[in-house]
């Protein structure tokens, strides 16, 4: 139970920091990526509702991933902030190259894909490789935010 609750707490804290970093980067003009918006518009085209739902969904994802981190650290028998950061680098790479770039457009009903043609009218442009369609700094920011998340989760988990 210690692992579970420490991972849960780490997930909440890590996601809070990651979400804040991503939002701040967008407000400061470094990226057009808005994860809450992207996630929320999967269920509604109302922009405000989408953002609220998106933040909720992002927190749930953050906690879910933290529990996976906990399970992984319990399996290898060690945990630390730098190990968390290292796993987060892998997660960021997966997110930017596969999860958001390939999988999200496939399941997102309002997002375009490279196959979208004239007989469809999506509302959201696809993120592209390394999410570069949303600004050239997007991947770097995503990577840094994930490293911060992973370090916090890794630091918080008690085996």
């Amino acid at each position: 139970m210690t692992v579970f609750w420490s991972a849960f707490g780490g997930g909440v804290m890590g996601t809070l920091v990651m979400t804040t970093m991503l939002r701040a980067a967008a407000e400061l003009g470094y990226t057009r990526m808005d994860l809450a918006f992207l996630l929320g518009t999967a269920v509604t085209d109302n922009r405000r509702k989408a953002k609220a739902l998106g933040y909720l969904f992002h927190f749930l994802l953050g906690i879910g991933f933290a529990l996976l981190y906990g399970a992984f650290f319990a399996a290898i028998g060690r945990s630390s902030w730098w190990l968390g950061a290292l796993v987060a680098v892998v997660q960021a790479l997966f997110t930017a190259t596969v999860l958001v770039n390939v999988l999200l457009p496939v399941v997102h009903p309002r997002m375009g894909t490279p196959e979208t043609a004239a007989n469809e009218i999506p509302l959201i442009e696809p993120p592209g490789f390394l999410m570069l369609n949303y600004g050239r700094n997007t991947f770097v920011i995503t990577l840094l935010a994930h490293i911060a998340y992973g370090a916090i989760v890794g630091w918080a988990i008690r085996l």
């Binding site: 922009r47 375009g112 043609a117 004239a118 469809e120 009218i121 442009e125 696809p126």
Partner: protein
Amino acid sequence: MRIDRYAPIEDYALIGDGRTAALVARDGSVDWLCLPNFDSPAVFAALLDVERGGAFALQPAIPFETEQRYLPETNVLETVFITSTGRARIVDALTLPNGGLEPMRELARSIEGVSGVVPMRWRFAPRFDYGRAAPRWERRGVTIVATCDNEAVALSIWGAGEATPVEDGWQATFDVRAGDRGLLAMSTAYAEPLIASPRHDVESRLARTIEFWRRWAGDRPYDGPWQTAVRRSALALKLLIFAASGASVAAPSTSLPESIGGSRNWDYRFCWIRDSNFLIDALLELGCYDEAKSLFWWFMHATALTEPDLHVLYRLDGSPGVAERDLSLAGYRGSRPVRVGNSAFHQLQLDIYGALFETAWLYSKGHHSLDRDTGVVLARIAGRVCDIWRCPDSGIWEVRNGPFHFTHSKAMCWAALDRAIHLAGRGELPSADVPRWRREADAIVEFVETRCWSESLKSYTRVAGSGDVDASLLMLPTIRFRNDDRVAATVDAVNRSLREGDFVYRYRAEDGVPGSEGCFLNCSFWLVSALARTGRVGEATELMERLVGRANHVGLYAEEVDPSTGAFLGNFPQALVHLALIEAAVAVARRS
């Protein structure tokens, strides 16, 4: 026919699938196609270099004449070849996906014998990266495959001769008798394996593509005058919208010259903010509410990185990389340089702020409410307009010898603040800064009325204090700029000073770019609209009738026309011209 092996620009027709587009010449040669998207490098670029660009020709092997048209209410092209021995018909389309396992992009060319026997030939010579990379060839059954790095194109051949290799590709000759049916299908792949579709799948996609376009065109409820021209323009504009993001290209080509042999050759495969203003207006007018919403969402998303500052143009997918560079291609009839990218990206063009707010206003009026976050962003941008409207800029025509205080730019800044005030009045924008917006809007009017009016010309001037006029001033009635008498007098002055026959020059001043240019066709349609809006409906109607007759054989327009010969110049087909045509038709209809 061809001059120096180049087809006249007006001899082309456009086919597309909402992701990319191909230019097909009247003689059956596909001379321009970028893959996988509009702004990707070309695999067929004979348009810009007949030797090295690559093309896909399909035509009779004996002398012929052609009749080319779109299948009614579609973007699918039919070319009938008439020879001394018979007639053959080809149907060209970039097919739309059906939802199954399909090629990433597909060009289908179906061949049918109509009468007699027609000896036909085709020559398939793709190049990669604008002709800079030669393909590696393979033969796999009925399919020829050309690959280069992570790209591949494959040509499947059914009933269209036995392919033999030649120096730059593959070719075949074959006879088509009445009732014969052949099919050539070019499928493409980018960073994924090729999909080899059987013949009936390609034919099924082609049939469904025709069906889709007919349904789409049938859903456009326009019933005003010049229906054929307006509906063709709508179909052409739909082809220029990049479906994945909702953005639209200004034109699907690059570097078609503004004068033959000249250097005014630009890449238009980007989305200009001002074009999207006109496009949303036209889409709403034609009942394309979903497309308008998609474009507006793209618009707000694309500008999120730079707001409250706006860029002049954006890439279709929002990614970076619009730097201008020259390609080592020969250029259309020797017109060099051939450019990709567009350095107008770096310019300050104040009119785009007016375009943005006009777009938001039209979108809001079109039964779409703006959400609060969008309203907050727009309010910030309105504040930015207050900060910068006093700056000189490069203007709507993107002059390269500026900046100047363009009258049109100032008027568009006024339009931005005026629409912001109206939007705030509807509760769509925060209203805290309305007093400032009103103050600055009044200051702009004061500037225009005192520094941009010439008593001797009886007209607003091109730039503050100048002694000439500019066709962009024809937009003043459209944006409902204040002083009706002066606006009407300005329309007169532009009509007198810049008109040549049915056409209108942009201006007669230097613009920092060497060489000459033709008349911009959008200016002619703007004149129609301005005449109608200032009460001269009869004159507007007559001019419109003549301009509609200036379209090419399939109803499309290039950016410019040579007023002495009527030949098309510049990139083709140009969205702004078709948008201006729709706007002009609606303006005349509303005042008739």
